[in-house]
């Protein structure tokens, strides 16, 4: 785990940047957010499915938080969360076209890095607040009875307000990708699917300028199973609802 980079990789070939567990996480989170949205709008008899999407999102976000500490180079928070100076500089470079055959960043840039953390925080807020709230009529989250009515009401307000913020943040995320594609001439979508980028002739001095040599699949499976177990435990330890 100390040496994740492969310094001898050939310059012309595509290098692995986004590991497979990270890509699966990304796709699954996108699906569970869309699924949550659709089932929230579809009427009360879809609420149980809505809960399942919420639990899935909760597990996926927990996975990503652990992966940000134990995952591959470009998945780790400390490799892409940068200070305000480089964030400001990155804003300035948003207008600059990327030359053919070049890329702006191997992993996340300063803006994309922070954006991913903001999206994670918003999605986490959404999933956690959902555990405690009730629609007054048909359904209550598994931990609704564990909090006071006024706290549950506040979290219900948060669940509905935070959703709008999350939706706006996802829209901004998509706009940024389209801007990169059309405005900057840089395709960020393909690497998020294949995992690979053409890094070009490498004069890299640090591992964050290099690709990764492994997907860490087994580590991903292990953390995935752990997170799944935690979510199942959380849902099953919830107090039984009473009907009287």
């Amino acid at each position: 785990m100390a040496l994740e980079q492969d310094k001898s990789q050939p310059d012309s070939a595509d290098s692995l940047v986004w590991d497979l567990p990270l890509r699966l996480f990304h796709g699954a989170l996108a699906l569970s957010l869309v699924g949550s949205w659709v089932t929230a709008k579809a009427g009360f008899d879809w609420t149980e499915t809505h809960f399942l999407f919420g639990y899935t999102a909760l597990g996926l976000i927990s996975f990503r938080l652990i992966w940000g500490l134990l995952g591959t180079t470009h998945a780790r928070f400390h490799n892409f969360l940068t200070g305000p100076k480089s964030v400001l500089r990155a804003f300035g470079q948003l207008k600059k076209k990327t030359q053919p055959g070049e890329i702006s960043h191997v992993g996340h840039g300063p803006l994309g890095g922070w954006a991913s953390v903001v999206l994670l925080a918003l999605a986490m807020t959404q999933a956690v607040s959902g555990l405690f709230i009730s629609d007054d009529i048909f359904y209550a989250g598994p931990y609704n009875s564990a909090v006071s009515d006024s706290l549950a009401d506040y979290l219900g307000w948060l669940h509905h307000t935070n959703f709008d913020i999350l939706l706006a943040a996802v829209a901004l995320h998509l706009v940024a990708i389209i801007w990169y594609l059309l405005g900057k001439n840089e395709n960020l979508i393909k690497p998020m699917i294949t995992g690979k980028k053409n890094i070009g002739p490498s004069i890299a001095q640090s591992k964050i300028q290099l690709g990764i040599h492994s997907n860490f699949v087994w580590r991903g499976v292990f953390i995935g199973v752990f997170v799944l177990g935690m979510v199942l435990l959380l849902v099953n330890l919830a107090p039984e609802p009473e009907y009287f």
Binding site: F44, D45, Y154, Y243, F244
Partner: protein
């Protein structure tokens, strides 16, 4: 004479306080009453929700009885919300719209009563819980809550 004036002014001041307190108490009683009524409604609806979710066994007699009670209780919503407590400054989940559009509020309560009657009669026909009637009743509750129940902590 002097003592009488002192006594009278004292009593006047005191009664002023008493009336002020009683206005707030009256508003609080009004809020407690309407919240109580909605809790009673919920207590009749809750077992039906449990049956709809398959968490307690279906019992036609309970559905018929409870939906019947909800049909009797729903028209009382108009009465218990007749007192306008907006000026009292007391906290409750009631939105101002209740008193700004009383006709709509009352018609929503009337819809709940009608749908409760429909659910009760469907239960007496004996083919399990009519999910359409159940959903219609619950949606009428939800519809009114979305318009008139404050969902933040105020």
């Amino acid at each position: 004479m002097f003592r009488t004036i002192i006594l009278l002014s004292f009593l006047t001041a005191l009664s002023g306080n008493l009336f002020a307190a009683s206005a707030e108490e009256r508003a609080q009683t009004g809020i407690d009453t309407r919240q109580g009524l909605l809790k009673v409604v919920a207590s009749y609806f809750s077992p039906i929700v449990g049956m709809a979710r398959g968490q307690i066994p279906f019992d036609a007699a309970v559905v018929e009885k409870n939906a019947g009670k909800i049909a009797q209780l729903a028209p009382m919503l108009e009465d218990v919300f007749a007192m306008d407590t907006r000026a009292s400054g007391l906290q409750s989940g009631a939105k101002d719209g209740i008193w700004e559009d009383k006709a709509d509020f009352n018609s929503k309560a009337a819809t709940t009563a009608e749908r409760a009657v429909a659910l009760a009669s469907s239960a007496s026909q004996g083919d399990g819980l009519n999910m359409k009637a159940f959903g219609a009743l619950g949606s009428s509750c939800k519809n009114c809550h979305e318009s008139y129940r404050e969902k933040d902590d105020s």
